[in-house]
């Protein structure tokens, strides 16, 4: 899952929510791959590889806010997510301070932060990771 892919789905979630009747919407997506290797006493105890993605969607309708989350980011999944968030907002208590903040100067472009990214991680083999865990 690339950053562009995540952004596409985030935009699609926001557009879908606005079309479904939200005054404002905010999508928060997280995607990642991980390998977890647990070693105890030099012995591998547990290893799990994962590849995950999920979306939280916040919508404003008047002074009410609704929130729903899903890992199903197919077009049908995003439609269902938006419908859930909208439907939940109807039951939220009215809050005069509720507001999704406007982002000044945002043009939708997000650059991956290079200083937080260790290029070695991308090519880390399972065998190498195991070796590091055993140290």
């Amino acid at each position: 899952m690339s950053v562009t892919d995540l952004l596409d789905r985030a935009e699609s979630a926001v557009r879908t929510a606005l079309r479904a009747g939200a005054d404002a919407a905010e999508a928060y997506l997280v995607g990642g791959r991980s390998t977890e290797i647990r070693v105890r006493g030099g012995r591998i105890e547990r290893t799990v590889r994962s590849d995950g993605m999920g979306c939280g969607l916040r919508v404003d309708r008047g002074r009410r806010q609704g929130f729903a989350s899903s890992t199903d980011l197919s077009p049908a999944g995003i439609r269902a997510l938006a419908a859930s968030a909208i439907s939940l907002s109807r039951f939220a208590p009215e809050d005069p301070d509720v507001l999704i903040p406007e982002v000044k100067g945002a043009d939708g472009g997000v650059e991956p932060s290079d200083d937080l990214d260790d290029p070695e991680l991308h090519g880390l083999s399972f065998e190498r990771a195991t070796e590091i865990a055993r140290r």
Binding site: R46, G52, T71, S84
Partner: protein, 476 residues
Amino acid sequence: MSLPAPFRSLLDEAALEAALRTARGTGAHFAEVFLERRDQRSIGRREGRVETTTASTICGAGVRALSGAGTGYAWTSSPSASSLADAARAASRIAAAGSPGEGGDGVRIAGASAAGTEPAGPGSLGDLQSRADYLEELDSLARAGDARVSEVSCSVGEEVRTIHVANSEGRRTTDEQILSIVRAAVYVRGAGGTQRGQYGGGGREAFAPLSKGRLAPGAVAGEALRRALLGLDAREAPTGEMPVLIGNGWGGVLLHEAIGHGFEADFVQRGTSIFAGKLGERVASPLCTVVDDSGIAGLRGSYRVDDEGTPARRTCLIEKGILTGYLHDLLSAAALGMEPTGNGRRHSFRTPPIPRQSNLFMEAGDREPEELLGSVRRGFYAKGLGGGQVDIVSGRFVFEVTEGYLIEEGRATAPVRGANLIGSGREVLMRIEGVGSDFSFDPGTGTCGKDGQSQPVGVGQPTVLVSAMTIGGTRL
């Protein structure tokens, strides 16, 4: 067998078969794909208004591979033909690298096939408005029930879960599991301070019929209020060792916590269970028969197949005091050379299955509960239990008593508050002196935690008399 509807837009059977072949082709002797979709929703009310609503969907796939050396697990929350193939390769590589799982080394799983189970029908979460109306009615009935009610909080939670299991032994099974739960807490203010009474219920039933039947708003509000009011009149709890009568239904939570985990075969394999190596031996009073049954329709811990696709069944664990079995998943059964019991459960597709309890209970005896009560000169009646702390390995526990009474000359007299039951599962089993005929399951609110994984479970028992237990009270 075609995939259940929630997965059809993501992948097809051919993708599953390919993933299984990929894992096998890279050295695994056993491979399994687990698909899961779970839609959850809840609505909660506090301070006279709806305060929380939640909606979440998880959808994903987990691939497990066993090779001669170990177990590998990989999952994806974006299931597709390619992500499943990636996961299958990863799981198989992990297994080949010798990462041991609970099954130990070199486990072979034979005959893991089962007849396909078709889902019961499309589950649906219904409309939120009717849940909001239900909670409002519950709230107002509780407040109308007594002038001393100061606060009511209540919630409804529902979920629909669809799973599909395919493994390299030819198993293809599907199950759809629905779950509903209602919880209410009523607070009353009186001379003795503020007291809280809690009640709730649920099960693998749709909310609508439950809310018109045993969980009608008035029934839930009334029981929570009754429990809260008892606290206002309660005395300080006694301290010391004495005969204890444990109430039926939810009282079985003590059994679940203090001994139930000892039946789970992963603890038996590691030798940490109090029941390890004791099959055929006396571990309890001859009055005591303990069973786990995942196949009872409607109960919170029930299913048609477990999370490895093994059909639900009844497993006798203690028969008239003799240890007769353990709770297995496929790996523990293979490792110990026993039959799988359909107790392989997982929190979600993100974790491999482990042996878990489903609905674990003590069967009814032949004594009238009144007769058991009448036989105690001085003792303690723990009619309702709350939360507890248990050391799963030793079975030592401390349980909070939410509804307790002194027993004086064969009668339950004053309600007491602040009491704790203290003891060990092993001792309690041997000290069971009387088992009532009033068996009941709990109302359906139990959730069990193990290794960071939570599972809905059922518990149950009749009224049980234990000859001696320690009451940790507030009065010396």
